[in-house]
Structures are given as structure tokens and as C-alpha cells.
Amino acid sequence: MTAKPVPRPNADTAPYWEACNEERLLYQKCGACGHNQFYPRSICAKCGGGELAWTEAAPTGAVHSFTVVERAPSEAFKPDIPYVLALVDMADGYRMMMNVVDCDPAAVEIGMAVRIVFENRHGQKLPQATPA
């Protein structure tokens, strides 16, 4: 059986994933326009500026939308079915895709408050959401 995919950091994202391994969640704040950016990039997608400061995120948010996945995209996710895939609006004003874990899928709803926990995926820690 194939393993679940592990993110492969690149030059843009390595600091983000290294911080995840310390169970800290980061985003980028633009020094030119103040935009809070996720996912990490080499430039600000709002203004094109390059002064991006890694900033510690408030590890909380609310479910913007979600789905309970019943057909897995690959063999590796079949044991997890049914699992919740969600878009979470983070307290710092950006959006992340995560699973909602340690929670009955039937209990998830739009607007539900969540907090960040970290899943250890073959040595790389991955942010996940769980009911706050």
C-alpha cells in the first residue's frame, strides 16, 4: 500500500514546514502592503513586494466550507474514509485547506470554530484542524 503524500518543501516553503516540525504555524506578512499571505511565496501576491516577514499565526480559525470524502483519491486515504476536508478561515485573515480530525464528521458545520493540531506524517508535521 502506498503511503499518504508528504509535502516536499522548496525554497519558498522550507521555513514554513520547518516551523511545523516545531509545532509552530507561520504565515508571511508583507512589509510593503501589510497583506497576510498563505501559502508562502517569494513575492507578495497582492502588491508584488518582496519584504515578506515570517510571522507566528494565531492557531485558530473557523470552517468556511467542508466535505465528507467517501471516495478516496488513492489507496493511502482509503482507511480514513469517511474523512473531512475543509477550508478554514484563519484568525489572521487567510485560508487553509486541512482535515478536521478527532471529530465525528457529522458534527462538522460551516462556521465551526477550530484550532490547529499537528499530525506527524512520516517525520514531517502537518497542521490539521480540530474542534476548538
Partner: protein, 384 residues
């Protein structure tokens, strides 16, 4: 863009499980079919636009296709806007003939997504369309991405599962009127409701098919109409809209680039949605079409679903839509999937759609979207 290009030939191969087909054989069959439909010879083609395939690896697909067919065009390029590619090809080909760079541009795509790969392989390859670091590790699939849109859209607009089911049932009824369609057996509202959930709220019958198939068209200079066999179809307007690639980066889950794409196409054509006689709009999922019908402005927010239930999207209704059955029931074979809509648009405007014909159709709106409602291209086509 008044009358700077015409569509002179179209063709679709058989769609569904096509034994003995390869991606390239489907390309070739579609291409030769469209050229013959136009009444042209292979040597008349001086431009070629291809898209992409998933079942084989050709980094320069358009070059590989020309080599396979044995042609040496003056212009040759690949386009990849996902499901929007079919409409983008027309827009791109129109500008090639408008600027005099080409006289007859062949646009062609096809893939053997049934015969060339297993269903699990198809699902896995398609899942790789998620962001590799920020979506794929969370088990995203294409249905799950559209389900995120569906859940939010239903939350904000009051759209219901019954509205989505009405779209699926209408598409199957349309496919039953097309001899080449992949799925022709009628389905009921109860069948959709009873179908297993793929990613809630979307059920199996809310999802498009996975098919073998190919499609092609020839886009020509307006004065080439006299060289060709069929009633010409005019490209009156085209426009694009792009907001994101990955659904987690979409600025909104209820409003998408189709709004700007359509507004640009309508403005160029000098018409409005109420002028349109028939629409062929991308329907990778029932929710895709529902969102696009409202975002483009054919229906006010919250009204497309009730309209589908009331029969407004079929023959005799306010806006007959996807008269071939769409991706939901005619078939979906990669970039060719979005081309089937345009092939059908051309047949409607030529008044060659047999039992499916919308009487006296003069103006058609065609639209493709790629990714997760990411890349959009709209066309306004007119009977020449």
C-alpha cells in the same frame, strides 16, 4: 470581435468505452472528421492547436500530433486551460485567422481515459491537480474540491440537492437524444438521491463521466466560407476570466471568473444573456453548471435550481442548455470534454441537431472552465 472568424468544421468521435482507441488515434479520427465536415483537405490546414492528455506522456503534444498525422503546419501550439481549453482554442484560433497568420486552424483533443488507464489511475492522476504541498497531503480529490464549492454555495444561496438532481436528470434526457452519447439510459430524481455519496453533498450522479473520446474543429477566416461545405458559424465574441488555480486560493466560493469571461464575450458580441437561444456550458459537476448559470447572469442567484426543476433548461424552456448531455451524460474525455459543448453549439447553429434541435437557434453561448472553477473562457457564436 465581430465576424473575424468562422467555425467551418466540427467532429466528435464515439464517446464512452472505445475499444482499440489510443489518445492519438482519437485525435486523428476527430481531426480528419472535422476537416472532412468542413469540406477541406488535410493540406488546407495551416495552423494546429492541441491541448493535453493524461494517459501518455508527450511533453510537446501538438508537435507529436502533427508528426503522427504527417502534417507540417505554419503554426503549431499547445494550450492548457483544463476544461476551458476547448473554448480557449476557438478564441486563440480566431485571433490567428483575424491577424492573417493562418487561414484554417485545426483545434483537436482526445484521450483514452477508460481504455488507457484504470478508474483508480484516472482518479489518482486527477487528484494531482491539487496543490502539491498545501492540498494533496490532505486527501483532496476533484469531486471533493467541487463539494467544497457546493456546500458553501448551498449555504449562501439556498440551492438544494433536489436542484442539483434536476440538472443531472435533464442532462441524461438530453444525452438520450444523441446517438454518440456515453450514457443514454434515463435516470430519475430518485436515482440521483439514491446514488452513493462521493464527497458530500455530491453524489455519483452529480459527477461527470470518465470517457474515451475525441473532438475537433476547424476555425477559418471569414472569407473562407465559400471554400467550405457547411453553413458557417460566426465567432461573435470571446472572453476569459482567471482568479486562481487551487480552490484553497479562490477569492470566493460563490463567484468565479465566469462572470468576467462572459461579460467580455457578451460585450464584444454586442448581445446580452437574454438574447441567447441555446447554451452549452461546462458541467463537470451539477454544482459547476448551477454556479455558472447564476454567476454569468442567465439566472439570478438562487434561481437556476428552481428553473432546472421547472424544465426551463430543456427544450421549450427559457434556456435549453447542454442539449448533447454535457460532461454529466454525453461524456468527458479530458480537453475534448469541453470541446463537445462547442461541437454541439455549432450543430445547433447549423440547424443540424436532429431531434435535439432548438428551433431557429441563431445565437449560442458556450463556456468552458478549467481547474476548480479556476480558468474560464466564454464564446458567443452566431448562425452565419
Amino acid at each position: 470581435m465581430a465576424d473575424n472568424a468562422i467555425i467551418t468544421g466540427v467532429h466528435n468521435t464515439k464517446v464512452g468505452k472505445v475499444p482499440g482507441s489510443s489518445a492519438m488515434s482519437l485525435h486523428a479520427e476527430a481531426a480528419l472528421g472535422a476537416i472532412a465536415d468542413a469540406g477541406l483537405a488535410l493540406g488546407d490546414i495551416d495552423g494546429v492547436i492541441c491541448a493535453y492528455i493524461l494517459t501518455e506522456n508527450y511533453p510537446m503534444l501538438s508537435s507529436a500530433f502533427c508528426e503522427y498525422l504527417g502534417i507540417e503546419p505554419n503554426f503549431n501550439a499547445g494550450l492548457n486551460g483544463g476544461g476551458a481549453t476547448g473554448a480557449m482554442m476557438v478564441m486563440q484560433a480566431a485571433s490567428l485567422v483575424e491577424t492573417g497568420q493562418c487561414r484554417h486552424v485545426l483545434c483537436v483533443a482526445g484521450d483514452s481515459r477508460v481504455s488507457g488507464m484504470t478508474r483508480d489511475q484516472a482518479v489518482a492522476v486527477l487528484a494531482d491537480f491539487g496543490h502539491p504541498q498545501f492540498e494533496v497531503p490532505y486527501g483532496i480529490s476533484i469531486p471533493a474540491a467541487y463539494a467544497l464549492v457546493a456546500r458553501r454555495y448551498m449555504h449562501e444561496t439556498g440551492a438544494t440537492l433536489e436542484h442539483l438532481a434536476a440538472l443531472a436528470v435533464t442532462h441524461r434526457a438530453h444525452a438520450a437524444m444523441h446517438p454518440d452519447a456515453h450514457m443514454q439510459d434515463p435516470i430519475t430524481m430518485d436515482d440521483v438521491a439514491a446514488a452513493r455519496t462521493i464527497a458530500s453533498p455530491l453524489r455519483l450522479l452529480d459527477c461527470c463521466l470518465i470517457s474515451d473520446g475525441g473532438a475537433a474543429y476547424v476555425v477559418s477566416a471569414p472569407d473562407a466560407a465559400r471554400d467550405t461545405a457547411r453553413h458557417p458559424v460566426r465567432v461573435l465574441g470571446a472572453g476569459q476570466g482567471h482568479t486562481h488555480e487551487h480552490i484553497s486560493q479562490a477569492p470566493s466560493l460563490t463567484d468565479f471568473g465566469c462572470k468576467n469571461a462572459a461579460a467580455r464575450a457578451f460585450a464584444k458580441a454586442g448581445v446580452t444573456p437574454s438574447d441567447i437561444d441555446v447554451a452549452e456550458i461546462y458541467d463537470s459537476f451539477t454544482i459547476t453548471l448551477l454556479v455558472e448559470l447564476e454567476s454569468i447572469g442567465f439566472f439570478a442567484t438562487g434561481e437556476a435550481g428552481p428553473a432546472a426543476l421547472a424544465g426551463e433548461l430543456t427544450h421549450g424552456g427559457r434556456l435549453p442548455c447542454n442539449t448533447h448531455g454535457g460532461l454529466l451524460s454525453f461524456g468527458h474525455s479530458g480537453a475534448a470534454g469541453g470541446m463537445f459543448h462547442i461541437v454541439e453549439a455549432v450543430r445547433q447553429l447549423r440547424h443540424e441537431a436532429a431531434d435535439r434541435q432548438v428551433p431557429d437557434a441563431e445565437l449560442c453561448f458556450a463556456h468552458g472552465d478549467g481547474g476548480i472553477l479556476s480558468a474560464h473562457c466564454s464564446l458567443v457564436l452566431g448562425r452565419g
